[in-house]
Amino acid sequence: MAASQIMFILFSAMIVIFSILTVTSRKILRAAVFLLFVLVSTSGLYFLLNYQFLAAVQLTLYAGGIVVLIIFSILLTSHISQNFESSGWKKNIFSALAALAGAILSIVTILDYKFSATTEAAKEVNMKLIGKSLLSVDYDGYVLPFEVISVLLLAAMVAAIVVAKKGAPKTIGLPKLNQE
């Protein structure tokens, strides 16, 4: 067995186990930590697929940013020790059935399909190529989505700040009617 296969088995086992644990754990903080493990294993998978840049981004953003954010908000909105989180059995059963049905459908479809690989040569993905593509205005340049994403990030920042701010909503520009 090649080393990549062993790594693959390891990573995928971690992903499967920890994702199931995330969605079934009773204690919220544990669920957050399990999510962290899933994200790190996913990053490992990316390394396996030879996308180093993306793996680094995944680690930085997801594991370092979002999970921290989630833990902060958990601490803000509930007690760590408060853990009783169980739904009725009806909801569980139906959701499990739906998820199972979807999973079986997808897996059967995947196994049925004949994937045909292309015969062209592989491109080496290095930082130089990524940087050039991000700023290139050619046919395969990604400058437009790049700019759009920056605007999106700005908008999200503003939205998050405004929505989470304390204080009553302002009445914008309504004149007082009893001042004649």
């Binding site: 909801k91 139906f94 959701s95 739906a98 998820a99 049905a101 979807g102 459908l105 479809t109």
Partner: protein, 639 residues
């Protein structure tokens, strides 16, 4: 060809007055609204006289017969290319004659009402309704086709309803107006059925086409038979049913005495001179069809008329309300007119009855309006309707006295007043056709003289009553119409009707037949004499007679219990066995169905609204499940 298109203004001007006074009357001063209404009518009276003069004396005659002139005719409603309802103005001898009658009497009533209704609340409303009535009646007589006549027939009924119920706060007046409308409406059902049968078989509504004696409409008469009578006879009998209702013939006469609840000018205009003769006018208008293809229907007309006149005359002998006496007298006189039409034939000497009927209509309008307006003056002076509370009024009301006397003499048929001439022609026509009916009418003539003079003597002579406050003569606005109508009653006897209004439009040679005239005058004088004996001075004879003929008196006094019979039939039979089950069905089946639909809808919506539960995860579950099912559908099942 003379241009008669200005005649459209004759009905239109009162319509405009109705709208003006009805919508803006309460803003005007009462006097102004009264004057407006009266002036409107004055103008159209003049126009009618001009039309009559032009038509009778300057229009062209064909074969010596007056022509029916269509002054204007336009299609109002078009259903298919053969079925359409027109509106228009038709001028022929009877319609022009009716124009003169209606406008004259209406004008007199308008002037009279200026005085009689003075100070009443609703003065403007009265004048607007009077104008509405004038419009409807004029539209009726000027109709070019039978459907237009039906429309205006109904309009006249509505105006009558509004005017009888004028004092709408009096329950008796409201009841009377309802009764009038319902009875005439029921009769109009027959009229409508008759119209439909007639026009279905003759394929037209138009009068000129229908009543053309040589045309095809009349020839349809022979055709299909149903229960022994031809289709035309049935349709004419049904059409006559409408006339029976509107003219208060037996058995639809019950509304007319109660209609006296309306103000007296209304009684004069509508229930004496104009509306009640609409039935007679209808038969006269359709006369060629009656005479040529439905002679059986004509017999029905004659017998109904004769019976009604006898019936009403007997009742009138016992009534004490002066307006009721006059109402029954009206029924009786209209019976005369119907009888005269019933015994007539078409053309030449046979048409004597037709001419006599129209002549009597003309003179009756004058003297009956005079009688009612005089009664109004009496009621205005004494503030009571009952003969028993009056007496010796000749000292206080001189003008009313003289005019009332003239009218009573006219109705009794004393020469040389107009009533003698017209009644004599009717008796002559009856004498030559049907001796039984002649005998009935002869007796009724005597009864008429008797009860009219009973009325006259009881009011103006009789006992020396002491009044609370001295009765005063009516003001000039009320006495001038009385005088004018009295002059009319005297003079109109000399109008040569036999040259102007006959069944076929040609001149009818006629003369006074001494064999009929002398006995009729004699029986009139006999009636007057008996009334003189019984009523001129206070005497005990009437009471003694009442006791002797106890049962006849009781039956006649209670109008032969006809009202009670009708009430019994409607309340105990129709309401209980037909109306109540229908009402039950409506409430419990129809309404219940509606309610069931509503409550089922409500129940279903209550169940469905759970889908908007606000539960996020439920929404997501449905979404996922739907997506999976769609995926299965499109990937595996859709080939």
């Amino acid at each position: 060809m003379i241009n008669f298109s200005y005649t459209i203004w004759i009905p239109l001007l009162p319509l405009l007055m109705f709208l003006l006074l009805g919508l803006a009357g309460h803003k005007l001063k009462p006097k102004l609204s009264g004057l407006l209404g009266t002036c409107g009518l004055g103008i159209i009276t003049v126009l009618s006289y001009i039309t009559a003069f032009k038509y009778f004396f300057t229009s062209e005659k064909v074969d010596g017969a007056y022509q029916k002139i269509t002054a204007l005719n336009f299609t109002w409603l078009q259903f298919t290319d053969k079925l359409h309802i027109d509106m228009g103005v038709l001028l022929d001898p009877i319609s022009v004659m009716m124009l003169v009658v209606i406008t004259t009497v209406s004008f007199m009533v308008h002037i009279y009402s200026l005085g009689y209704m003075k100070g009443e609340k609703g003065f403007e409303r009265f004048f607007s309704f009077l104008s509405l009535f004038s419009f409807s009646m004029l539209g009726l007589v000027l109709a070019t086709n039978i459907f237009q006549m039906y429309i205006f027939w109904e309009l006249v009924g509505v105006s009558s309803f509004l005017l009888i119920g004028f004092y709408y706060q009096k329950p008796s007046a409201v009841r009377a107006s309802k009764k009038a409308f319902i009875v005439t409406r029921f009769a109009d059902l027959g009229f409508l059925i008759g119209i439909l049968i007639l026009s279905f078989n003759t394929k037209t509504f138009d009068f000129i086409t229908l009543t053309n004696p040589t045309g095809t409409a009349i020839a349809q008469g022979g055709g299909i038979a149903f229960l022994g009578l031809s289709i035309m006879t049935w349709s004419m009998i049904f059409v006559f049913m409408g006339g029976v209702g509107k003219s208060a013939m037996f058995p639809f006469h019950i509304w007319l005495p109660d209609a006296m609840e309306g103000p007296t000018p209304v009684s004069a205009l509508i229930h004496a001179a104009t509306m009640v003769v609409a039935g007679v006018y209808l038969v006269a208008r359709m006369f060629p069809i009656y005479a040529i293809s439905a002679p059986v229907a004509l017999h029905v007309v004659a017998y109904v008329g004769a019976f009604s006149s006898l019936f009403a005359a007997v009742i009138a002998c016992t009534q004490t309300d002066i307006k009721r006496v006059l109402a029954y007298s009206t029924i009786s006189q209209i019976g005369y007119m119907m009888l005269a039409l019933g015994v007539a034939g078409y053309g030449g000497h046979e048409g004597l009855g037709y001419m006599a009927s129209m002549f009597h209509l003309f003179t009756h309008a004058m003297f009956k309006a005079l009688l009612f307006l005089g009664a109004g003056a009496i009621i205005h002076a004494v503030h009571s309707n009952y003969m028993t509370e009056m007496g010796s009024l000749r000292k206080y009301l001189p003008v009313t006295h003289i005019t009332f006397l003239i009218a009573c003499l006219t109705i009794a048929g004393i020469p040389p007043l107009s009533g003698f001439f017209s009644k004599d022609e009717i008796l002559a026509a009856a004498f030559h056709s049907n001796k039984l009916l002649f005998a009935v009418e002869y007796a009724v003539a005597g009864l008429t003289a008797f009860y009219m003079f009973r009325l006259y003597f009881s009011i103006f002579w009789g006992k020396d009553t002491q009044y609370h406050h001295t009765p005063h003569e009516a003001p000039a606005t009320m006495t001038i119409p009385l005088i004018i109508l009295a002059i009319g009653s005297v003079v109109t006897g000399f109008i040569p009707f036999n040259k102007l209004v006959t069944s076929d439009g040609k001149i009818l040679e006629s003369e006074i037949e001494m064999m009929v005239a002398i006995p009729s005058v004699l029986i009139g004088l006999l009636g007057i004499g008996i009334a003189y004996i019984m009523y001129k001075k206070e005497s005990a004879i009437p009471d003694k007679l009442a006791v002797t003929f106890k049962y006849s008196y009781k039956w006649a006094y209670n109008k032969f219990y006809m009202d009670e019979l009708y009430l019994f039939v409607t309340k105990k039979i129709i309401f209980r066995y037909i109306s109540e089950p229908v009402a039950w069905f409506d409430r419990h089946v129809v309404d219940a169905t509606m309610n069931a639909i509503a409550s089922v809808t409500q129940g279903v919506s209550f169940r469905i609204r759970g889908y908007q539960s606000g539960q996020l995860q439920k929404y997501a579950f449905v979404f996922i499940t739907g997506a999976i099912m769609l995926a299965i559908l499109f990937i595996y099942l859709w080939k």
